[in-house]
Each structure stands twice: as C-alpha cells, then as structure tokens.
C-alpha cells in the first residue's frame, strides 16, 4: 500500500476520532473547528477542479458559498428540516447561479473571468446586504436544526460532525473520479492550451461552464453545511475575504492536486484560528504576508514541497498537474 494511501487513511482515522475526545481531553470547540475545516475542505475540492485542473481562477466563489448558506437557512426556516431536501435545494439553486454567472463569465477572453466572478460576487454581497427578507445586514439568526431522518437530529455537534465528514469524504471520492475521468483530462488540456483544445474539436466553453457549475455546487454544499452548524447566516458569508481565503488555501495547498488544497484549507483555518486568538484582527495582515511569501517563494504550495521531497529520493514523473 502506497505512502499516499496510508497517509490518507491515517488522516481520515484521525478525523473520525476527533469528536471522541471532546469534553474529556479537550474542549468541544475543536469539534466546531473540525466542522469548519471539513466545510472548507469540501469547498476547496470543487475549487481546485476549476482552478487547478481547468485553470479558471475565480475571484468570487463566495457567491456560491453564501447562496448555499442562505438557501439552507431559508429551507430550514420555512420549508423542512430534512437535511437531504435542504442540500438538494442548495445544489439546485447553485446550479442555476453557476449557469447564469458562468454564461457571462466564461467567454473568449479568459482574463474577463477573473473580473466577472469578482463583480458578480460583489453584486450578490450587496444584494443580500440590502434585502430585507433575509435580514439585510443583520442576517438570519435562529435557524432550526436540521434532521437526518429516522429521528436523528443534527443539532448534536458530534452527529453533525460525522455527517459533514461523510459528505466531505463522498465529495472527495467524486472529485477524484472527475479528475481522473476523460472529462477531467479534457479540462487539463483546456488549461494547457485552450486554443489547441478547440481546434482538436472540443467545445471548451461548454466544458468550462460545466466545471464552473460543479465547483459552485461544492462551494454551495459547503456553505449549507456551515449554515446548518452555525444556525445563523449573515452577508459576511458573501464577502470577498471568503473568496480571498479560498484562493489562499488553493495556492498554499498546491494547485491541481486535489489533496493539496484540502490540506491548505485545514492549514489556513487552524492557523487563522490560532493567530486570531493571539492577535485579533491583525492576523489577516499576517495571512496576506504568508500568501505573498508563498507566491514569491513556493508557488507550487505544500503539494509541490511534498513532490520535491519525494523526487529527491525517488525520481518518478509527477501526474498531470500544472
């Protein structure tokens, strides 16, 4: 069994064991932190598909995150507490958002994608910030707890943690399958040379729009899970700092490796949590500096570092990542 497989299993095992020590060995707070890590890990899986594999860097993915959160909140408040229906609704809404924004954002000149995702995300933020129905700037507090069915409530943090873990693992499995599929290969080709891909006969625009929607769904489900955990949604979930943090996690982890950005998410969340308790608001400044340093000195992120460590011992060609 390869080292990668082993470490993957070890990580999952650790994650499974986390809630068991809560209250006894350490505070329950760490389970909440664990949920947050899993939420962003899920977010990054879809994001890496788009950014790392397809080569489209979105500066506004918070629009999906926030929409997923608000959709979940509204469903829980007004429709049903069944987590399955809630997540399904979140997926549907984000597919629509992804289709519409993707139609405008993915066009002949790729650089416009950056601007347009940023601009649309700002629009969503401003819209939700002023929409009275969802509480405008104050957001929606007091969202009911979700239920799993068969009387199991997700109000208990440990139960929600395990549910989130299951969704994250399933999400990873799906993402991995996508990335290794023939479609995944075409995405990489488009990233390497979009014109060449077109002239071979691939409808690059359609492939990219599909990837955009998929990544949006991942971000949306992540947002929904966060909303379910926090029982509260606010426009800050749409704020650009979320889009920025996600980009940071992606870069730190190593673009186009799937596992890298997931690790990047964990790193940033845990580090951010540690730093913010040490230095309140200043931690974002440190984050920005870490980010800049990463770009300048180690652009391939953690995954790149790991790869370099391995090839120094055993020179095998790396998989089709950038």
């Amino acid at each position: 069994m390869s080292l990668t497989r082993l470490s993957g299993i070890a990580v999952v095992a650790l994650l499974v064991l986390l809630p068991l020590g809560a209250g006894r060995l350490y505070s329950d707070y760490y389970v909440a932190l664990g949920i947050r890590v899993l939420v962003f890990a899920l977010f990054l899986m879809g994001f890496d598909l788009l950014a790392g594999y397809a080569g489209l860097i979105s500066f506004g993915h918070a629009m999906f995150f926030g929409t997923g959160a608000y959709a979940a909140a509204l469903m829980l408040k007004y429709a049903t507490t069944s987590v399955w229906v809630v997540l399904a609704a979140s997926v549907v809404v984000n597919v629509v958002v992804g289709a519409i924004v993707g139609y405008f954002a993915i066009r002949a000149r790729e650089i416009y994608f950056v601007f347009l995702t940023f601009a649309f995300a700002q629009f969503f933020y401003n819209f939700v910030n002023t929409w009275e129905f969802v509480g405008a700037a104050n957001g929606l507090p007091g969202i009911p707890k979700a239920t799993l069915g068969a009387g199991i409530s997700l109000g208990d943090r440990a139960t929600l943690y395990y549910f989130t873990l299951a969704v994250a693992v399933a999400g990873y499995a799906i993402a991995r399958c996508l990335v290794r599929s023939s479609y995944g290969r075409v995405l990489v080709g488009i990233r390497e040379n979009e014109e060449r891909a077109r002239f071979l006969g691939y409808d690059a625009t359609r492939c990219l729009r599909r990837a955009f929607v998929i990544s949006g769904v991942y971000a949306g489900v992540a947002g929904s899970l966060l909303a379910i955990d926090q029982s509260f949604v606010a426009p800050t979930l749409y704020y650009w700092s979320i889009s920025g943090e996600v980009l940071l996690m992606e870069l730190l982890g190593g673009m186009g490796t799937l596992a890298g950005p997931v690790a990047g998410a964990a790193f940033v969340i845990v580090l951010g949590d540690t730093l913010s308790s040490l230095m309140a608001e200043r931690w974002l400044l440190v984050m920005g500096l870490i980010y800049a340093a990463c770009v300048l000195f180690s652009p391939t992120g953690f995954a790149g570092l790991v790869r370099r460590l391995r090839t120094s011992r055993d020179p095998a060609p790396a998989p089709g990542a950038p």
Binding site: R180, V186, R198, L200, G201, Y202
Partner: protein, 246 residues
C-alpha cells in the same frame, strides 16, 4: 471530388484588405500548396477555413456543407484539422498525453465525468500508433515542452492526424527546421497524404515543387495563379511577385 470550395471570400481588418475576393477549390486526395509573399493572406485563409475568424463576405463549403461562421471546434469535428505557424500543443503534458487528447475527441465517452480515462484503452493504443508513425514513439513520456522544435512540430502534426481528419491544413510545417528535419517532414507529409487531403502553406520552394500536385499562388489577398507546380513556376505574374524567388 471537390472537398473544399471557397467562393468570393473577403476579409478585412480595419482598412487592411487581407482577403479580397478569393475563389478556390481543393480537390480531395492530393497535396495542394498555398504560396505567396508575406502578407499575401495565406494564414488568414487558413484562419477563415478553420473558423478562427469569420469572413466579411463569401462562402466556405466543405463536403457540400457551408462552414463559414461555425466555431473552430465544430469545424474540427466535421473533419478539418490544422497546425499553426507557431506550434500549438499542450506544453505541460507528455507527447503521448498530447496525442491521446487528440484521439479522444472521437471516442464515444470523450467527455464522460466518471469514466476513468485509462478505460479508454483503444485511445491509448491509437495514440501510440500515431506517435510511431511520426517517429516520436521513443519520446512518448517526455513533456512536450522539452522536445526539440522539430519534434514539437511533428507532435502537432501527429495531433492533427490523430483526430482522423479528411482535410489537413498545415501552416508552414517546416518553419524553423534544419535541412534534415525538413526532409523527414517532407517524407512524413507524403506518407500522410495517402489517406488525407493536405493543404500546405509553405515558403520552402523546393518542398513545394517536389511535394505538391497543385499550387495556388496568392498575393495581396488575391489568387494570382493556380495549377500544377511546374506550370505555376513559369507564370510571369508569379515570377514578378516573387522577384525571381522561383
């Protein structure tokens, strides 16, 4: 049989008339060269045929089907493949992965999100066959960007072949090649032309003379002569335009 028909084709860029009323037929099964001085509109012609740009006026008909205005990927799927003046490949992927993507276009589950790419076994075999045909079999696992210039151009030709086209547009395939590489490319094109109709833009006159069944000469966006290579070479107008280049 006429594979490609261009009628009254016109394209201008601002005040520059790049193609000024062009009528031209490409017959199937032979090698046709398009020659002319720089700025004659040859690459613009290829861009119009392959869908990179759209014409201001005129028609492009491929196998009795109007293709003007179609996007490049649709035209490629109809059976026209092209190489570019500046090599257009997937630099970070290996030679095999490059050709595999080209073969994959025609595979039944080309865009399947769950079918693992390795399962398309026929695709890999066919890609290897094409790589061998252009002489790059030994380089299959090397990243394309590490290949020599000549090999990269051969790789691009391999990719165009791998899509199984009926019409192959080669834009200065021997550009930047040494004499040895040019000879190899020539032999390759002759071999390819056995099953594909080839339209080449070339500056290398020797290649044009030895390779082409038919030559079309362009200057200032117009066709000034057309015919078998030796006939065209003796044309006064062609000689004047080339100032003794032939």
């Amino acid at each position: 049989m006429t594979l490609l028909q261009l009628r009254a084709l016109r394209k201008s860029f601002g005040s520059l008339m790049a193609i000024d009323g062009l009528d031209f037929d490409v017959e199937a099964g032979r090698i046709t060269s398009v020659i002319g001085p720089n700025g004659a509109g040859k690459t613009t012609l290829f861009n119009l045929i392959s869908g990179r740009i759209s014409a201001d006026a005129g028609t492009v008909v491929f196998k009795d089907r109007a293709i003007d205005g179609l996007p490049p990927d649709a035209i490629a799927r109809l059976g026209i493949a092209r190489s570019f003046q500046i090599t257009n490949i997937f630099p970070g992927l290996t030679a095999l992965e490059n050709v595999r993507l080209a073969v994959q276009v025609r595979a039944p589950r080309a865009l399947s999100p769950w079918c693992p790419a390795e399962r398309l076994g026929g695709v890999t075999l066919r890609a290897l066959a094409v790589l061998d045909r252009v002489g790059l079999g030994a380089h299959r696992d090397r990243p394309a960007r590490t290949l020599s210039h000549g090999d990269q151009r051969h790789l691009e030709i391999a990719m165009t072949l791998a899509t199984g086209p009926e019409l192959l547009l080669l834009d200065e395939p021997t550009a930047g090649m040494s004499a040895v590489e040019t000879a190899t490319t020539m032999a390759l094109i002759v071999e390819i032309a056995q099953d594909v109709t080839v339209l080449i833009i070339e500056h290398d006159m020797e290649l044009v003379m030895r390779l082409s069944h038919h030559v079309m000469v362009m200057a200032a966006g117009r066709k000034i002569a057309e015919g078998p290579a030796d006939v065209v070479a003796r044309d006064d107008e062609v000689r004047r335009v080339y100032l003794g280049g032939l």
